[in-house]
């Protein structure tokens, strides 16, 4: 028994790769089977077609789905809307997260920092749906927002069920995913750099622009990967809080699957994949992966 164990450990000692293989096999296998296989299946099925009456998928290879995406202006509009709102959400989150991250990293003491941390993360404990529905209540025609505006004598803001509502809710929901990497990046900027900048005669704005921002940029880009990709793939917020012109790529995918047009859904789902791939390449250039 002991001998067998020794031989076993000996094997690992002599062949280091065996140990590595044993450790890495489960996650790699899961990655290959669950993730890559799903992507391959998605990609392959985007070249298939559907029987018009029974809606069954037929394995006839063709480019019709992609041609449809290319020819129809409506799909360009939907893709641009999705990417545009994802970008707007990312910018808004970066602007909101920077001062907060700065305060947490460089101004706040241990206690207030812990408090802000909890405050930032607390919304993540409640369900995504609950948070969207709460915003719906706030923004509705007879909601909290209009009620408050009326009380102070301002005209009603009818942003419920519009793209403004979608943008606002996304900005709120994904904000923690921006704050954390920005905070991490700002914390890593040495105090001496800022002092040196000041000693050399730079004002607050110049120090921010030429020292702090470039050093914290990888954190912002890392956060933007989350906010951008999460918005890009979402369909629930546009569905619940959006108006008549709030369709996202995700909504078309959802509707197409609902109407049995799985191959077309797969083809449209390739679009955000490509966008995200390009985005990640740019993000890597900007050093975001070191800040993750």
């Amino acid at each position: 028994m002991r001998a067998a164990r020794l031989r076993f450990t000996g094997l690992f000692w002599r062949h280091r790769w065996a140990k590595a293989l044993l450790l890495l096999a489960p996650p790699l296998l899961a990655f290959a089977l669950v993730y890559l296989a799903a992507l391959v299946a998605l990609f392959l099925s985007s070249f298939w077609t559907v029987n018009a009456f029974t809606s069954e998928v037929q394995h006839i290879w063709n480019l019709d789905n992609y041609r449809l995406l290319w020819d129809q202006g409506a799909y360009h509009k939907i893709a641009l809307r999705t990417i545009g709102i994802a970008a707007a959400v990312t910018v808004a989150d970066a602007i909101l997260a920077f001062p907060l991250g700065y305060f947490m990293a460089r101004v706040a003491g241990g206690r207030s920092r812990a408090f802000i941390f909890v405050a930032v993360l607390l919304p993540l404990w409640s369900s995504y749906l609950i948070r969207v529905y709460i915003w719906q209540l706030i923004l509705a025609h007879d909601g909290v927002l209009n009620w408050s505006l009326e009380k102070v004598g301002l005209p009603a803001a009818n942003i419920g069920y519009t793209n403004w509502a979608v943008w606002l809710i996304f900005t709120y929901i994904w904000l923690p995913f921006m704050i954390l990497p920005v905070y991490g990046a700002l914390e890593r900027v040495p105090d001496s750099f800022l002092e040196a900048s000041r000693d050399l005669g730079a004002g607050g704005w110049t120090t921010f622009r030429r020292v702090l921002l470039p050093l914290a940029l990888p954190g912002v880009v890392a956060g933007s990967i989350f906010t951008f990709s999460l918005t890009l793939g979402d369909y629930i917020t546009p569905l619940l809080a959006g108006g008549a012109s709030s369709q996202f790529i995700g909504n078309v995918v959802y509707d197409s699957i609902g109407s049995q047009q799985t191959p077309f859904a797969a083809a449209f789902a390739v679009v955000p994949l490509a966008v995200m791939g390009a985005y990640l390449l740019i993000a890597r250039r900007l050093g975001a992966f070191e800040a993750l």
Binding site: L28, A32, L33, L36, A37, L39, V40, A41, L44, V50, A52, F53, T54, S55, E56, V57, Q58, H59, L68, Q72, A74, Y75, K77, I78, Q136, A140, H141, D142, G143, N158, G160, Y161, L239, L240, G242, G243, A244, S245, Q247, V252, D255, S256, I257, G258, S259, Q260, Q261
Partner: protein, 382 residues
């Protein structure tokens, strides 16, 4: 490293190939001659309001079949859900006429024996073997209820009371209109055009030539800027009317009843152009894991009392003629209100949902089929 990558890609491709779903399912063979012992569970896909506690609870007590119901928002949704998990996930579905034929020809639903449903003999003749659930004398389900899609409005905000579907296409209530997020809504536009623009010669709103179809889509495109929101679930429309975000829209009587119960000032009517509507059928999956419970369910919802309860709750017309008396007992005047035991003339005046296919009634293949309806709907909204 390169070699490893290639091997993974190969592995992934093989796995992907294995994941490809097998297509084509066989229909159930051989009709049962009696209902056996219940399996204890029943998984249903239903329209919102079709599986209320009021009649589900006594069913569970009587049969021991515990009902698990999932709501669907559209007929497309129902077809998708029925096919999920190879058709074994759900035992039955309350399919409307635009889903039932797709389910039958897709092999997703089983033949059923109406002799096992005692109340079947009391059904109105038009719903015993209707073309949407009976093919060449073979029954693929038991008819349930039917009714019209209505025009719903807030009586405080919409004055005078609208008489025509034109109200939801006019600028007067811009930004306060809501219609279903459902490709079959194109038929509503076509029905309106069949009266408003006789030159298009629209006879059947589900059988549209390309020209007629384009006219309907153009009408919907012009309507889009007026729409507050396309609703996907009945509850979403209820919320829109409650909050005041919408004051007029296309609806089902269910929303009217729910809103009235919540003291919202609403009214609904069939406008002068007539209405589209639904005739629903409980259908059993061809791979049902609880077929006995499903038969017991179909028998239960066909009984006069349950038919009456559901008719009043949802605001629709029961298939069982014996339900009319019960309706009046439960809520005086309700039988007349919901056209219980209505004449064939009224029944025929409603344009029931059906799946648009390329072959028109005139035998020519020049109609626009349903996948193109779905596509046009998505593009119109985009």
């Amino acid at each position: 490293m390169r070699k490893h990558t290639r091997r993974f890609v190969l592995l992934a491709a093989v796995t992907a190939a294995l994941c490809v779903p097998a297509s084509g399912v066989s229909a159930g063979s051989g009709l049962p001659t009696k209902i056996g012992k219940g399996e204890g569970q029943l998984n249903l896909i239903a329209w919102e309001g079709y599986t209320q506690k009021q009649w589900v609870k006594p069913f569970q007590q009587k049969t021991g079949c515990i009902v698990h119901a999932t709501y669907a928002g559209t007929s497309d949704d129902m077809v998708t859900k029925m096919r999920s998990g190879g058709g074994t996930q759900y035992d039955g579905v309350s399919a409307s006429g635009d889903a039932s034929l797709r389910l039958i020809y897709g092999g997703d639903v089983a033949k059923v024996n109406p002799k096992l449903i005692p109340s079947f003999k009391d059904f109105i003749p038009a719903l015993k073997s209707p073309p949407h659930n009976t093919i060449k004398g073979v029954h693929y389900g038991i008819s349930l209820q039917w009714g019209p899609n209505t025009l719903l409005w807030n009586t405080k905000k919409v004055k005078p009371a609208p008489k025509s579907w034109s109200t939801i296409y006019s600028k007067k209530y811009r930004g306060k209109i809501t219609v279903p997020d459902n490709p079959i809504q194109i038929a509503d536009a076509a029905l309106y055009l069949s009266k408003a623009k006789p030159s298009l010669h629209i006879k059947d709103p589900y059988e549209l030539t390309q020209t007629q179809f384009n006219a309907a889509i153009n009408l919907l495109k012009r309507q889009k800027p007026l729409i507050k929101k396309y609703w996907a679930l009945a509850s979403a429309e209820i919320n829109l009317f409650k909050s005041g975000d919408a004051v007029i829209g296309a609806s089902w009587p269910y929303q009217t009843n729910t809103l009235k119960a919540d003291k919202v000032h609403v009214k609904d009517e069939i406008p002068k152009e007539g209405a589209t509507g639904w005739a629903d059928t409980w259908m059993m999956s061809s791979h049902a894991r609880h077929p006995n419970c499903m038969y017991k369910w179909m028998a239960w919802v066909s009984t006069p009392k349950v038919q009456a309860e559901q008719a009043i709750y949802f605001g629709e017309t029961p298939a069982n003629t014996k339900a009319c008396a019960v309706m009046n007992k439960l809520s005086p005047g309700s039988a007349k209100q919901y056209h219980c035991g209505a004449s064939k003339k009224y029944f025929d005046s409603i344009k029931f949902w059906k799946t648009p296919i390329a072959k028109c009634d005139n035998g020519r293949n020049n109609c626009v089929d349903y996948p193109r309806w779905q596509q046009a709907w998505t593009e119109m909204k985009g």
